[in-house]
């Protein structure tokens, strides 16, 4: 009991320290002047709640007969039989949802889907192959600039640029991976971090090609079989989407179209990765992550296998970048700073390394929640950091730890 009291006091103190700046200081506006008013009682209430909860945590959980959240869900076997049905329903809902939601919400969801793509791509490298990559944003940038430059200089459409962008990002991954993958752990992380910065600085300073810090604007939006989503067609002899179908012009169509496109790309990514991890190459990634020496003794070539993970992961980053450029219509190096790499990595860690569903949930959480809580924007990084620390203490395996696709041997 004294141990519990000590723990509860400590938790309450931590809560107090965190809560004072967030809850304890209110910003009030009177006319044109803004003043800070200290209202410490909220912070004390919060700390008190934490204290009481921590004190009663153990008695409460024994009282409730250890009903953990996990036990409330149906057992794994029953989940497995319902799985296809649940997935189908979720996918159908994801397709119907934008037609019922507001334009702003659909727009945020599209951004979230980009992060899902990035998270899934990085998950190959970090989650499956166990290679810590802190410069993943570089491949995202390569994809985005590929489309922007290909359309500016060669007038290529989004649909042609998408595979090229993914391919170029893969090529960059391959070229970087070749010398770098001999390194392990921390060393690899530092080199990839440097690579991410090199790409950003290159884009920032190569004025003639990339426009430097001014970026590239007027990037055309994707088209649906050649139909544009603009008020009037830009290309000669083209008719915009709304005229073709005899509809009133509305910007919403474009937003919904972009959302659906992102959704399709995410589904494509999911499909490919789900196949990959059941294929020999996916098994080899995991084996290498588990024990490189044992893998070598069985004839697996570590360099090739790591390189395949790095290259494939990069290609999905490139794909996401391409789509990002098309959605934004304007890109500059500011969008590809280290913090993006950190966020994508946080998505992977938060979701549970190697877990697809976990990564999707984490990506949605980390992009949608900040949008919902815009008024707390200044505290975003604070909360973000706090969540990561708490996760590492209580759930280091992530929200939904991976349950590998098991190759079952019938017994």
């Amino acid at each position: 009991m004294p141990g519990q009291l000590k723990g509860a006091l400590f938790s309450a103190a931590v809560m107090l320290v965190l809560a004072v700046p967030i809850l304890g200081i209110q910003i009030t506006t009177e006319g044109s002047s803004v003043s800070l008013v200290g209202e410490l009682h909220y912070a004390f209430i919060a700390a008190g709640l934490v204290f009481v909860f921590k004190l009663l945590e153990r008695p409460l959980s024994t009282l409730l007969g250890m009903t953990h959240a996990a036990n409330l869900l149906p057992s794994a076997d029953r989940m497995a039989t319902y799985r296809p049905a649940i997935l189908t329903v979720l996918i159908v809902l994801a397709f119907i949802w934008p037609f019922t939601a507001s334009r702003g919400a659909v727009d945020v969801a599209t951004l979230a889907l980009i992060y899902v793509m990035l998270g899934l791509g990085l998950n190959i490298v970090v989650g499956f192959a166990g290679l810590l990559d802190l410069g993943y944003v570089a491949f995202y940038a390569v994809g985005a600039y590929s489309y922007a430059l290909l359309t500016e200089y060669f007038g290529l459409s989004f649909w042609i640029s998408l595979p090229i962008g993914a391919g170029l990002a893969a090529l960059f991954g391959f070229v970087l991976g070749f010398p770098v993958l001999r390194l392990r752990g921390d060393y690899l992380a530092i080199v990839t971090l440097g690579f991410g910065e090199i790409i950003r600085l290159l884009l920032n300073n190569w004025d003639e090609l990339t426009g430097g810090p001014d970026g590239i604007g007027n990037i055309p939006k994707p088209t649906l079989f050649g139909l544009e989503f603009t008020r009037t067609a830009k290309a000669d002899g083209n008719i915009p989407f709304h005229e073709f179908f005899g509809l009133e012009y509305s910007g919403t169509y474009r937003v919904i179209f972009l959302y659906l496109l992102a959704l399709l790309l995410v589904l494509f990514t999911l499909f490919v990765i789900n196949r990959l991890i059941r294929m020999p190459v996916g098994r080899a990634w995991e084996a290498l992550r588990e024990d490189e020496i044992a893998s070598r003794s069985l004839g697996l070539n570590p360099t090739n296998i790591k390189l395949s993970a790095f290259t494939l992961g990069a290609s999905f980053g490139g794909m996401a970048g391409c789509f990002f450029a098309a959605r934004q219509g304007f890109i500059n190096p500011e969008s590809f700073t280290f913090i993006e790499s950190a966020i994508v990595l946080a998505i992977v860690v938060l979701g549970g390394m190697g877990s697809q569903i976990g990564v999707i949930l984490a990506a949605l959480a980390l992009t949608v929640l900040p949008e919902l809580a815009r008024q707390f924007e200044e505290y975003r990084m604070l909360v973000f950091g706090l969540v990561m620390v708490l996760m590492m203490i209580w759930r280091p395996q992530g929200l939904l730890p991976s349950k590998r696709p098991r190759m079952e041997l019938p017994t």
Partner: protein, 254 residues
């Protein structure tokens, strides 16, 4: 008849330390050869040199007449020479059967496109790999735990799984580094039978490092004794048992 594995004048130097010096021996096909010697004699270093984990500083290792010394570990393995480790090295979070599937990496279809499309040839190779895995699980008596995580197995089972994982690669020679370490007498006896079964029915030769003298003397066709990196004696079990140098090295001067 030329030897399956021939080691000639092997030497390995770490800075100023000569860990292995002038070790030579042969393993003929169908033989069980043991390397014995006091702790720190350089037995595992010899293993590491042969299996490509170290690049020997001198000497030559050849398998079926082809030189393999200096090749990286994964290439040596593809020549049909696989090994286990002193401390068990399984892929612990993967299931038992997945461990055996990974080991067949160089025998299955690793093409990304055919795998993505699940072509008929791809599926056939995967099915064959699964069947081989099942066969070896039966051989080492682990079929009932096939879909469990390898890290959760009992120690003796993990040892057996490691041997099975070597065998699914279809090797010519398996090198076992202290396979009986940590096993109880019962398990050691089972291991003894397993090694003899490998030789009798699966046409592999075995190179063994072992401290359990009873096991060594029972199953070895040939024994190589190493002391302080140098070859001390070589011969059949009976010859080694009565060799005064060996007795001296093991028991000290009397």
């Amino acid at each position: 008849m030329s030897a399956l594995l021939s080691v000639r004048d092997l030497g390995m130097r770490f800075g100023g330390l000569l860990a292995v010096d002038g070790v030579s021996f042969d393993v003929n096909s169908g033989q069980v050869v043991s390397i014995i010697g006091p702790n720190g004699a350089g037995k595992t270093t010899v293993f590491n040199c042969i299996s490509g984990f170290y690049r020997p500083t001198s000497g030559q290792v050849s398998l079926l007449g082809k030189t393999i010394s200096g090749l990286p570990g994964h290439k040596v393995a593809r020549h049909g020479l696989v090994r286990t480790f002193q401390n068990v090295r399984l892929f612990r979070t993967m299931t038992v059967v997945e461990n055996l599937l990974v080991a067949q990496h160089s025998r299955v279809d690793t093409n990304l496109l055919t795998g993505m499309l699940k072509t008929r040839a791809y599926r056939a190779k995967e099915a064959a790999a699964m069947e081989r895995a099942g066969f070896w699980l039966d051989q080492v008596g682990l079929r009932e735990v096939a879909n469990r995580e390898a890290g959760n197995l009992a120690y003796g089972q993990q040892r057996r799984l490691e041997i099975a994982r070597c065998m699914v690669t279809g090797p010519r020679l398996v090198m076992l580094d202290e396979p009986a370490a940590g096993l109880n007498p019962n398990e050691t006896r089972e291991l003894d039978e397993l090694i003899l079964l490998l030789r009798a029915e699966h046409d592999v030769s075995v190179l063994l490092i072992e401290h359990d003298m009873k096991l060594v003397m029972e199953i070895s066709d040939h024994i190589v004794v190493i002391d302080q990196g140098r070859p001390l004696a070589e011969g059949t079990a009976a010859e080694i048992r009565n060799n005064p140098d060996v007795i001296k090295a093991y028991l000290g001067e009397s």
